[in-house]
C-alpha cells in the first residue's frame, strides 16, 4: 500500500538518504569535489545511438586530457530511466552539473529556475555562431521583467516527421517511386495499395503517447499554429483545420493499409528496415538506424517531405526537435561546465564535424560555421538524404510546442479517439474542455518563459 506513496513522496527524503552527500554518480565526488586536484564536473547524457555514446566518451576523454583544472565524469543514462533519475537527483540536490535537455523542455526548466544562463559563462562569439532560428529555441526570460537569455547550447536538430518509403514496393504496386504523395488525401489510398500479405502499407503514430509530440508538425501544417495560445491563456483545438487533421489520421487508420496496432513506437524505424512496412513516418534519425542496422536496405528506401494538407510543401510538416547541453543552476562548477560545453559544441569545427560524420549526416547542425563546413564536405554533398531533408524539410520546420505535455496529450487523445471511431467534433470538444481546465487549474496564464520568441495564435 505504501508503494504509491514512496514512489513520489519518499523521493525528497529517500534519495537524499540514499545518495548522501555524494554526487549522483556512485563512487564519484560531488560537483564541488575534486579528483586528483581537479574539480569534478558530472555530465549526464541521455542514451542515444551507440555511435553517439562512443563519440561522447572519446571527446570527454580528450577534454580531460586537454587541461588540468577539471575532470568530467560522463554518465550515460537509458532514456526510459532518465526523467525519474534526474528528478530524484535534483530533489536531493545532487543533480548533474551538465546534462542533455531537449528544446521542448527548456522553457519549463527556466520557469523553475533549474538552468543557469549561459550569456556570462560562454564567450559571445560562440553564442553568436548559433543559427538565429535555432537560438530562439534556447532563449527565455526567467520572469516577465527579466531580459532574454540563452539557457542551453544547441547540439543538433532533427526533423520529427519525414516520410520514408520503399521504392521497390512502390514500383511493384504500380506507383511512381519518383513521385511520392504530397497531399493528405492521397496517402490513405497509397497505403492501401501498398499492403501486400504481411507487409503493411504505412506505419505511423496511432496512440496518444506517440501522437502527443509527433503530430505537432501536422498541427502546424493544418492551422499554422498550435492549439494553445502563445501566452498560454487558453486552448482551442476545435477549429476546422484540427478537425481535418483528426479525420486525416482516421482515414489512414481505416484505410486498410495501416496495422491496427503499431509495429513499433513512432521513433523506432525498425519495421521499415525489417521489410514489414512499405512506408513509415518517423524522424530523420531513421537514416542513422538504416545505415547502421539495415545497410542492405539503403538503396531501396527513399525519403520525402510528409504530405501536406493542400499539397503545398512549403508549409511546415515537421518540428525541429533535438538536444542541447545545459548547466544546472545549483552547480558549483559552472565555469568549468561552460568550458566543457564550449569544447564539445561551440568552439572549432573538428569535434562537431566528427559528430555529424559519425551520424552519417543524419543530424543537422545548429551553428552557422558548422553548416558551412558540412556543405563543403564532399561526402555530405554526395549523401542522397541530406540535401532533400535540409532543403525541403528542415528549411520549413518549426519549433516544438513548449507548453506542458499534458496539453499535447489531450490533443493527441482526441486524434486517437477519432481514429478509433469517435467523431472529430466530439473528441476535440472534450479535448478543449480538458485543456482549458488544465490551464486554469495550473494557473498557466503568462507563465510561458519563451513567449517573446515564439509566434502563435
Amino acid at each position: 500500500m505504501l508503494q504509491g506513496i514512496l514512489l513520489t513522496a519518499a523521493v525528497p527524503l529517500g534519495t537524499s538518504l540514499l545518495t548522501g552527500c555524494g554526487s549522483g554518480t556512485p563512487g564519484q565526488p560531488a560537483g564541488d569535489g575534486s579528483s586528483n586536484g581537479r574539480k569534478v564536473i558530472n555530465f549526464w547524457s541521455q542514451q542515444f545511438e551507440d555511435w553517439q555514446s562512443a563519440w561522447e566518451k572519446k571527446h570527454v576523454a580528450a577534454f580531460n586530457a586537454s587541461q588540468k583544472k577539471f575532470q568530467v565524469n560522463l554518465q550515460i543514462v537509458p532514456a526510459d530511466a532518465w526523467a525519474q533519475k534526474l528528478k530524484a537527483a535534483q530533489a536531493a540536490g545532487n543533480g548533474p552539473d551538465v546534462y542533455t535537455i531537449s528544446y521542448g523542455n527548456i522553457g519549463s526548466a527556466v520557469s523553475t529556475g533549474a538552468l543557469a544562463p549561459l550569456n556570462d559563462l560562454i564567450k559571445g562569439q560562440y553564442l553568436d555562431d548559433i543559427d538565429p532560428s535555432i537560438a530562439k529555441f534556447v532563449s527565455a526570460k526567467s520572469s516577465p521583467s527579466a531580459s532574454l537569455k540563452q539557457y542551453a547550447y544547441p547540439w543538433l536538430v532533427e526533423p520529427s516527421t519525414v516520410m520514408f518509403y520503399r521504392k521497390d514496393l512502390f514500383q511493384a504496386a504500380g506507383l511512381d517511386p519518383d513521385k511520392p504523395p504530397t497531399r493528405w488525401d492521397q496517402l490513405p489510398d497509397i497505403a492501401a495499395k501498398l499492403k501486400k500479405g504481411n507487409v503493411y502499407g504505412l506505419g505511423t503514430a496511432s496512440v496518444a503517447a506517440d501522437l502527443s509530440w509527433s503530430s505537432w508538425g501536422l498541427q502546424q501544417n493544418a492551422a499554422g499554429h498550435y492549439p494553445v495560445k502563445t501566452d498560454w491563456s487558453s486552448a482551442d483545438p476545435t477549429i476546422a483545420p484540427y478537425q481535418e487533421l483528426a479525420n486525416f489520421y482516421k482515414s489512414l487508420y481505416t484505410s486498410g493499409g495501416m496495422p491496427k496496432q503499431a509495429l513499433s513506437a513512432y521513433a523506432d524505424g525498425t519495421p521499415l528496415g525489417q521489410g514489414k512496412l512499405a512506408m513509415q513516418i518517423t524522424g530523420s534519425w531513421f537514416i542513422g538506424l538504416l545505415r547502421q542496422q539495415f545497410p542492405k536496405m539503403e538503396d531501396k528506401i527513399a525519403a520525402a517531405p510528409m504530405v501536406s494538407i493542400d499539397g503545398d510543401q512549403t508549409r511546415p510538416t515537421a518540428t525541429l526537435g533535438g538536444w542541447t547541453l545545459a548547466i544546472d543552476a545549483k552547480s558549483k562548477v559552472q565555469e568549468g561546465a561552460a568550458d566543457f560545453i564550449t569544447y564539445m559544441l561551440a568552439s572549432g569545427d573538428d569535434v562537431m564535424m566528427d559528430y555529424f560524420k559519425a551520424s552519417g549526416w543524419s543530424k543537422y547542425a545548429t551553428r552557422t560555421s558548422i553548416v558551412k563546413a558540412i556543405d563543403a564536405d564532399s561526402s555530405a554533398q554526395a549523401d542522397p538524404f541530406r540535401k532533400l531533408i535540409t532543403d525541403k524539410i528542415v528549411k520549413y520546420g518549426v519549433p516544438e510546442a513548449t507548453y506542458p505535455i499534458d496539453l499535447s496529450t489531450d490533443m493527441a487523445t482526441a486524434i486517437e479517439k477519432t481514429m478509433k471511431g469517435t467523431s472529430a467534433d466530439q473528441a476535440l470538444a472534450t479535448a478543449k474542455q480538458q485543456m482549458n481546465q488544465y490551464i486554469n487549474n495550473n494557473k498557466l496564464v503568462g507563465t510561458n518563459t519563451q513567449s517573446s520568441v515564439q509566434s502563435g495564435s
Binding site: I5, A10, P12, K87, G113, V207, K260, K330, P404, N442
Partner: protein, 333 residues
Amino acid sequence: MTTSNTDAGVAATNALSSTGAASAAPVEARTTDRTPRTKRHRHPRRDNLVAYLMLAPMVVLLIIFVIIPFINAGYLSFFNWSFYKPSEFVGFRNYVNVLEDPDFLGSIGRGLYFAAMVVPTGMILAFVFANVVKGLGKKLSGFVKTSVYIPTIISGVIASIIFVVIYDYSGGILNWFLGLFGVQPIAWLADPSIALPALAVPAVWIGFGITALIMLAGMLDIPDSYYEAASLDGAGWFKQMLFITIPSLKNVILYLLIAGFTAAIQEINLPLVMTQGGPLNSTLLPNLYLFNHFTQDTYQGMPIAGALLLFIVLGAISAAIFSILNSDKAVDG
C-alpha cells in the same frame, strides 16, 4: 495478483501459524502446565528490553523510510514544489486539481476493475491448483511447486516484455496461433476494449505461483481428522471443501485478498512497459498516472497529493475487506 516475496513469506508464516493453531495449542498448554507461574515472569523487564532491542532496527527503518517521508509528503502536498525556487503554499489546490482530473478518478476506477479481474481469477486458479498438488506424491508435488513458483521470481519488466512479444500484432505467438484457425490478427494492446484484460493475464500469471503455494500451505495445515470425521458422516468432496477447507483457510484468503487487491491496483510495470497507459488511457492505472505526473510535471505538489489520496483509497479497501471477512483466530474445532 502480484505479491512481493517478503509479503509472501510473512503470509505463509501467518497462514501456517493461524491454521496450525489447532495442533500447536495442546503443546503450548502442556508447557504452560509444567512452567511455574513465578518462574515465567521472573525477569519481565529484561524480557521487555530484549523485545524492544529486537524491534528497534525495524522501527528505525520504518521511521526513516515510511513515517518521515509520509509526514514530509503530507506537508509538501500543500506546496508548489520545484526543487530550485522557494516552494509556494497553495493550500488544497493540489488536492482539488487531482480530484478534478478525470484521468485520476478514471485510473482509480480502472484499478478496481483490474483488481476485480486479477484477484478472484488468481485465487480460484490457485485454489484448484493447490487442491490438485495436495493429492500428488512428494517428488512430483515438489517439482510442480518449484515450476509454478518460477513466474514469481521473474522481474515484472521481463514478464511485460515476454507478453509484449506474445501479443505482438504482426509477429506475435498468439495471433500466429489464432491465424492457424483463420482468425484475423487482433490488436491486443491497441484496442481499448481488450487492452486491460490483456494486461490482466500476465498479472495473474506472475502472482499465481505464490498465491497457490500460500493456499497449499494453508491446506496442508488442516488436520486430516476433520476430513476423516466428515467422511464418516457421509460428507462428499464438495461438502468437505465448503465446510472444512474454505472456513479453515479464512485467514489465508483474507490475507491474499488484501495483498492481492492492493498490489493489483498499484500495478505499474505491466502498463508502463506494455502500453504506456494507452490506448485511450484504457490501461492507465493509478501508479502510472502518478509516475507520469512525477516525471512530466513542472511542480511536484500534485503527484504527491495524488499519492496520498491513493493511500486513502487503498486503506479504505483494506478496511472494507477486513470488515467483511472478520479476521478471527483460526478455527481449531
